[in-house]
């Protein structure tokens, strides 16, 4: 909007990090991006075509007509109907053009093509769960390049909004209804080499993976500054843009665009079931992946919900005043019907995971909680935990 800024643009890219981005925009990652940027530039240039002459005229007036106090004005002309009609009607024509251009592109963005690849999205305070079907859930959004992708989105609590700046795509997720959006990614993520990834994993051992951290990585085209997922993919940022409470700004995830359908399917398969991983490890993975970590710490600190450290086998006072032993049954109930027995001092805000976690997943989470609790009995608990699983569903 301000011409001088445009010239500053040359000095900025280094400060602005993202590669392939221009001054105004992040990288163009979807088929919408070019269109939106074009409309944006159209409005920008029309605006500048008005703004610059208007301000020049104002400054010129200031130089020319600043007079000593008491000087009479050169003219007292009070109106000029033709001139006024011209500057009312002229800009209106341009406005109609902007409106039409913007609406055409908008209709494109509102109409998903038939047969789009469909991913379910569940937004909650404060995280994302993407549903790939067949019981595969993951907080990251994985899609395929050049494949129209439709998101069927729902929220378990308050209004959220899904925004991928690189795709120029955004839609609110309103509880009580499904909202849909679609886009066609055009730029694939890169994958760094296994050795480089192994090195990064070693560096960040013991801490949660920091997506925002910029790593210097050796690639075929020399050293590059990259942000990568724990699996070594570069990514696009995905934000929640509708204010949703305490950790709104932490409600971020990433979009990974795979080169081919086969690659995506392989990734889904690798994330679909526990495989030969132990129950404790799988439970820990789910803890990170399914949004538990957003509200429950494992170091004893109090977040939105009680900490999971030493929780298994301990006694908790409930809001009803009763005491509750945290055992398999209670954990299971708290996952499927979280509002039934709420621990005193906490709000009943947890969404239900009913239908989203398999029995094996729940058992794995319980195993993980046992593994980080000093109160857990050394002997495995009785089999009664398994017996009423079906009735809880």
């Amino acid at each position: 909007m301000f011409p001088a800024i445009e010239s500053l643009a040359m000095t900025f890219p280094t400060l602005l990090a993202d590669k392939n981005a221009d001054f105004w925009f992040p990288i163009q990652g979807s088929s919408f991006a070019e269109e939106v940027d074009w409309v944006y530039d159209l409005i920008l240039y029309i605006s500048l075509a008005f703004f610059v002459p208007m301000m020049a005229f104002m400054v010129w007036c200031l130089f020319k007509y600043i007079k000593a106090r008491g000087t009479k004005a050169e003219s007292q002309i009070s109106h000029h109907t033709t001139l006024e009609l011209t500057w009312s009607i002229g800009p209106s024509v341009l406005l109609v053009w902007m409106f039409v251009q913007g609406s055409i592109s908008f209709l494109d963005m509102r109409t998903p093509p038939e047969g789009s690849y469909d991913v379910g999205v569940q937004a909650f305070k404060w995280g994302w769960t993407m549903d790939y079907g067949n019981g595969t859930f993951h907080p990251e959004l994985h899609i395929v390049k050049d494949e129209p992708t439709k998101l069927s989105m729902r929220s378990t609590d308050v209004i959220h909004s899904l925004f991928v700046p690189a795709f120029r795509a955004k839609k609110d997720i309103v509880p009580g209804r499904y909202n849909y959006m679609w886009f066609k990614p055009t730029v694939a993520s890169e994958q760094i080499s296994d050795e480089a990834l192994a090195k990064l994993k070693k560096q960040s051992e013991g801490a949660t993976w920091d997506y925002d951290k910029v790593h210097t990585i050796e690639t075929e085209d020399g050293e590059r500054e990259l942000q990568v997922t724990p699996e070594g993919y570069t990514f696009f940022d995905l934000y929640c843009t509708e204010y949703c409470g305490k950790n709104h700004s932490e409600m971020q995830t990433v979009v990974v665009v795979h080169e081919t359908q086969a690659e995506l399917e392989a990734w889904i398969k690798a994330n679909s079931s526990r495989g030969d991983v132990s129950m404790e490890e799988w439970g820990e993975l789910l803890y990170a992946r399914r949004g538990c970590s957003g509200c429950h710490s494992v170091d004893g600190s109090k977040l939105v919900g009680p900490s999971f450290l030493d929780v298994y086998g301990s006694q908790h006072a409930l809001t009803t005043g009763e005491n509750q032993l945290v055992d398999e049954n209670y954990i299971r109930e708290s996952i499927l019907a979280p509002k039934a027995k709420v621990v005193a001092g906490y709000q009943p805000v947890m969404p239900s995971y009913k239908g989203q976690l398999s029995d094996d997943d729940i058992a794995s989470i319980i195993a993980y909680l046992k593994s980080i609790s000093a109160n857990a009995p050394t002997q495995p608990a009785g089999a009664e935990a398994e017996s009423d699983e079906e009735s809880a569903e």
Binding site: F2, V39, K67, I77, P91, M98, F163, C244, S249
Partner: protein
């Protein structure tokens, strides 16, 4: 004082004597608390809104300081995000409900409307006083909310977050509800005053444009504010009784709330900006000493904005999932509002052309208003256009846009108005040099704060984030330094005004050379505004204004009169019925 240099027939009310003006004609705290004088109420409002602005401004600085660092600099600990959320919520709520909406209509409007109209007071002086106390009462609710359990919903109180959070939503919404009544009373009073209390000769098209703007604003205040009241009551009912209108858990629809809320709050944007247009029309004309260009177009465009403003609320919900047709219709309607706003800017520029411009402090604010409001208006086009709005909605681009309109527009106009009418209100002149330096600092600081935010937004930085990705750090830091400069500028302006109270020279009746009626009474005005009935003429006719260099003031001279021809007309016989 010598009148030797003055032309014959000069009119100047001179200076008030000790007991002649509204500030001194009675004394004691009770004479202020129970005053029915619109000027005193206006002044009390001025002190009130300025205090609210100071609080809101400090919260804004806290927000900017927190965002110096991607992980948050100002607030720390486990509750850092919570504190940040409460700070930005209170910043927004205080600025909107306690400052911007009442600033110009209630503070300046109360002082100016009757004086500019040539009336002795507003139509309902007691209602006027009660509207001030309602404002105080509403403000107390906000303060109580702040000190009880805070408020973290954002100033928009979006459901279902607002019906489920455990902060003081009810206290704050009740506060806003009460403030709504204050706003309605002010609007009602102005409508009645302007309709019924115009003196002889003050026709609609002899009214100064500030009065047109105030009238248009009042229409919105009276028609739209009740909707906010109803919405807030429904919100409270939803929170306490789960009536199931807004909360999906009880079969309500959160988007309904947004429709209700913006049906008030979009017109409310014009409550904030229309009076600013009125002020700028006055400032540009008076300080250019030239007839305002296109008086009728400006007057009509105020009314047009007031009416069209009711039809565009849906543009806040382009991403919420309305039907495509509805979305496109709202986009089209949104563009219609931009035309009357553009007309005003063109008219102001044309007024400066061939004028005799004095670069006084109010004029500095007026030209910075034109610069900033034009940016604010043009960036609105990016948000009214659907394709670009989908990308920019709820990002810093929106934050920058509405601050350019609300702060760059309303606040700057308010400051310009305060400086313009300050000599009239308090009877003292301030130091022009310092006034201009402060105006320049405010202008630079403001642009430093909000220009980087346009880039932040189009690059994808979401709004209301307590922490952010490191790639946005540079732009955020630029913005924070701008905010610090803006804070210094505003403090400087405040000091200039306060110093004038102590050290300022006595103000003449007409220091700038305005032709509207308020410049025809003494500074400060007498209790009943005018010693003798003012002469109503064209409010922008500068022909009969003369500069009295000796006393540094402007004086009105008697309009030139056509002499009666010396020869008497031929006698017409009475029986001819006056016809030859």
């Amino acid at each position: 004082m010598s009148n030797a240099t003055l032309p014959a027939g000069a009119r100047d009310p001179g200076y008030p004597t000790e007991r002649e003006n509204y500030l001194t004609n009675s004394s004691g705290i009770l004479s202020w608390m129970f005053t029915l004088d619109h000027k005193r109420i206006g002044l009390m409002y001025l002190i009130g809104v300025m205090s609210a602005f100071a609080v809101g401004g400090l919260l804004a600085l806290a927000i900017r300081l927190h965002l110096l660092d991607p992980n948050g600099w100002m607030f720390s600990g486990a509750e850092a995000n919570n504190i940040y959320n409460q700070v930005f919520t209170l910043h927004g709520a205080i600025m909107v409900f306690l400052f911007i909406i009442p600033s110009i209509p209630a503070a300046l409007g109360n002082f100016l409307v009757p004086v500019m109209l040539g009336a002795k007071d507003v139509g309902f002086p007691r209602l006027n006083l009660s509207s001030f106390y309602l404002w105080v009462f509403g403000a107390l609710f906000f303060v109580t909310a702040l000190f009880s359990s805070g408020l973290d919903t954002g100033w928009t109180f979006y459901t279902p977050y607002s019906t489920t959070t455990d902060t003081s939503v009810i206290l704050a919404t009740l506060g806003a509800f009460i403030l709504g009544f204050s706003s309605i009373f002010t609007g009602l009073n102005f409508i009645v005053t302007i309709n019924t209390m115009r003196p002889p000769g003050m026709t609609w098209f002899k009214m100064p444009l500030f009065l047109w703007a105030t009238y248009a604003t009042s229409i919105i205040q009276v028609l739209a504010t009740p909707v906010l009241g109803i919405t807030l009551l429904l919100l409270i009912a939803e929170r306490t009784m789960h009536i199931g209108i807004f909360d999906p858990e009880f079969n309500g629809d959160p988007v309904t709330y947004q429709h209700f809320f913006w049906f008030y709050s979009h017109p409310a944007v014009y409550i904030m900006i229309l009076p600013a247009f009125g002020i700028i029309s006055e400032l540009i004309s008076v300080h250019s000493h030239k007839h305002i260009f296109g008086y009728r177009f400006i007057a009509y465009s105020s009314i047009a904005i007031a009416l069209l403003g009711f039809l565009v609320w849906g543009h806040h919900m382009f991403t919420a999932g309305m039907s495509s047709l509805t979305t496109i219709v709202f986009s089209a309607l949104t563009f219609t509002v931009s035309v009357p706003s553009a007309i005003k800017v063109f008219n102001w520029l044309a007024t400066m052309y061939k004028g005799s411009i004095s670069l006084t402090t109010p004029m500095c604010y007026a030209i910075s208003f034109i610069f900033l409001f034009t940016i604010g208006g043009l960036t609105g086009l990016f948000l009214g256009t659907l394709a670009t709005d989908l990308h920019l909605h709820d990002t810093y681009f929106v934050v920058a846009h509405f601050h350019y309109v609300m702060v760059g527009g309303t606040l700057i106009a308010f400051l310009g108005g305060v400086f313009h009418w300050w000599p009239k209100m308090v009877g003292k002149l301030y130091n022009e040099t310092h006034g201009r330096i402060a105006a320049l600092l405010v202008f630079l600081g403001f642009n430093g704060t909000f220009l980087p935010q346009f880039v932040l937004g189009s690059r994808g930085m979401p709004r209301r984030y307590a922490t952010y990705d490191p790639e946005f750090a540079t732009l955020h830091q630029l913005s924070t330094f701008g905010a610090l400069l803006l804070g210094i500028g505003l403090l400087y302006a405040f000091v200039v005004l306060m110093v004038s109270l102590i050290k300022g020279r006595r103000a003449p009746a007409n220091p700038w050379g305005g032709v509207t009626l308020e410049w025809q009474c003494t500074s400060p005005p007498p209790y009943y505004n005018f010693e003798r009935p003012p002469v109503v003429g064209d409010p922008y006719d500068f022909h009969n204004l003369e500069w009295d260099a000796e006393n540094e003031r402007y004086i009105m001279t008697e309009p030139e009169r056509k002499l009666v021809p010396e020869s008497t007309p031929e006698e017409v016989p009475a029986h001819a019925g006056g016809q030859k």
